[in-house]
Structures are given as structure tokens and as C-alpha cells.
């Protein structure tokens, strides 16, 4: 099953987004990788640990917030022993969409990324 990692500058934000997505995502493995040693920031090692925990062999979709989240996610993916893709999506809405998409029995890494990225088009009002 495709897993998810949520990367945010804030550990609380990452955990909160995981909480929201998990409610919709059934058995989907969703890992929070927020903050940098207890401070605001992102950390490649922490994201690496998240990738390892979320990957059961079917790959991982990574949701990111701003700036260095993308860079550290890229570095972590380069070091990861498996497949992982950064979704170009809003972090919370993308995580919810991806968590739901991953529960589809026919889900693939690409289909989950696609659903995460579709969240960019969600109209709110």
C-alpha cells in the first residue's frame, strides 16, 4: 500500500495534518516529519526516517509545505532505498486526498500523486 509522509516546518503542523488525513485514510501509513530538532525548520534525517516507516514496498508520496521542505525532501528521497515522489500540492488538502486515494485497492504511486495534486484545484467558497 502506498504510504505518505507529511513534511512541515512545524512539528505540530505536520502532526495535525497527519491527524486530519488519518481520519479519512483508513489503513494508509501516514508519517509526520515536521520541525528540525525541536525548532521550526525541516530536517532530511527526519524525513528519511518517515520514508522508511511509511514505505512497505509500494512507494511513498511526500507532501511538503515551504522552501527548505522541498530541498530536504529531495535529499531524503535520494538517500531512500525505494520509490518516493513529492506531490506538487497544498500540504493539508493534498494529504487528505492522497490518504483517501491510497485506500483504493487499485492505487499506485502515480495515482496517489495524481490525486494529491488534484487538491490544488479545490475551490473553497
Amino acid at each position: 500500500m502506498v504510504g505518505l509522509v507529511v513534511v512541515s516546518h512545524s512539528a505540530k503542523a505536520a502532526e495535525g495534518i497527519v491527524e486530519v488525513a488519518a481520519e479519512m485514510g483508513g489503513d494508509t501509513a501516514i508519517e509526520a516529519a515536521g520541525g528540525d530538532d525541536g525548532e521550526i525548520g525541516t530536517d532530511a534525517d527526519r524525513i528519511s526516517d518517515g520514508l522508511a516507516a511509511a514505505d512497505d514496498g509500494d512507494g511513498v508520496v511526500v507532501l511538503v509545505d515551504l522552501g527548505s521542505a522541498v530541498m530536504n525532501a529531495e535529499v531524503a528521497i535520494e538517500m531512500h532505498d525505494g520509490q518516493a515522489i513529492i506531490a506538487d500540492a497544498p500540504v493539508l488538502e493534498g494529504a487528505v486526498n492522497a490518504a483517501v486515494a491510497a485506500t483504493d485497492p487499485k492505487a499506485s504511486l502515480d495515482s496517489v500523486v495524481e490525486q494529491a495534486e488534484a487538491a490544488a484545484d479545490i475551490s473553497k467558497v
Binding site: 530538532d37 525548532e39 521550526i40 525548520g41 532530511a44 527548505s68 530541498m71 530536504n72 529531495e74 535529499v75
Partner: protein, 233 residues
Amino acid sequence: MSGDADAVVAAVRAVADRIESERSHLTDLDSAIGDADHGGNMARGWAEAADAVADLDDPDAQTAVKTAGKTVLSEVGGAAGPLYGGSLVFASPELEGGITPETAVAFAETYLEKVKDRGDANVGDQTMVDALTPAVHTFKKSIETDDLPPLEALAKAVAAAEIGVQFTVPIRASKGRASYLGWRSVGHQDPGATSTLYIMEELLETAADQFDSEVPDVDATSPTIPDAEAAEN
């Protein structure tokens, strides 16, 4: 340990000491346009890197550079970890055959490409790329076209980086945290370009020690010897 690896170990220690002594200056630059963590993060990361390379058992130059990069990557965090540390790791295989003028040029070019690619930044974005690009171009030309001695080539590269740092002052940031400030970023010296210059200055000092020589007095914009000869002929 090879002489090249000795030089890397000495260089990483020199960089760590320099960043530590510039810590508050870097943080002041960063607090004007960013999140005021550049000095502290970099000082911590490079100090750890200096210890990590000193602890290696008989490394070659490539392994020493890779170890320094990995340590900076995990200890510095933020965007600086991937940019300074990740790029060192990525470029380290260029030094597989040891450090020669040719492998140093290849290493510098690969490092610059990775920084630009990772940060999605180009010259003129008010980032470290503004210091690195003139430095790497000048180094490459000095070695490959002008056939200058390596120490002189490196000295010209450092002088070029200095011009690049000055160039970050009057331009507007379009990458990194400072870009959120828009026009308010104009007039500020980029902390990443500044710390990149410090790193290069320490590489030059270490290289001069290795050659048991003084740091050559050069001007980045002075005409090069072969070009001057060609003009006369």
C-alpha cells in the same frame, strides 16, 4: 592518510573556526532578511563536521569531503543543510582520483550545478549562487585556459566571489526566505553568499599552507597572462 585528505581535514577545521568567529555577523545579516538562524546553524554544523573528518581512519580526499557534507547536511538543517552539505556529498565523487587542478575544477562545477538545481536559483536571485558562479567560472578559466598555478587560480576565484557578494547588496531577492520581503530585500547582503565567501577564503588559506606559500595577491578582474600575450602577438 593521503596529503589530500590531510588538506581536507585542515580545511574543514579552518572553515568551522571561521564560521564560529563570524557567527554573530552572519546572524545579523540573516535577521535583516531571513529567520536569524544562519550563523548558529552553520557554526554548529561545521564544528561537528570538523570533528567527524578528524575521526576518520585513514580516509582519502573523496571520503573526507563526503563525510563533511553528510555531517553538515544532518546537523545544519533548514535549507543550508541540503545546499552546503548535500552539494558536497553530491560533488565528492569528482575527487575520486585525489585533488588535482583538474579534479578541483570538476568538483567546483558539479557543486555549483547542484546548488543551482537544488535551490532552483540562478545568478541575480540574491543567493549564494551569486558568489559561487563568478568564483567557479574564474577558477575554471584560470586553470583550463590561462594555465595559472592552482593557488593563484583559487585566489582569483575568491576575489571573484567577493565581487559576487557585493552584487547581492543592490539586487532584489527572488529565492529563499528573503524573497518573501520583495523590494525590502534590496540593500541587504545575502548571508548565504557571505558564508560561501568565508568558506572559500578558508580553502585558499589552507591551500596556501599546503603549498607552504603566501596567499597570492591577485585581482579578479585583471587581464590574464595568456590573453595579454595573445593581444601582443
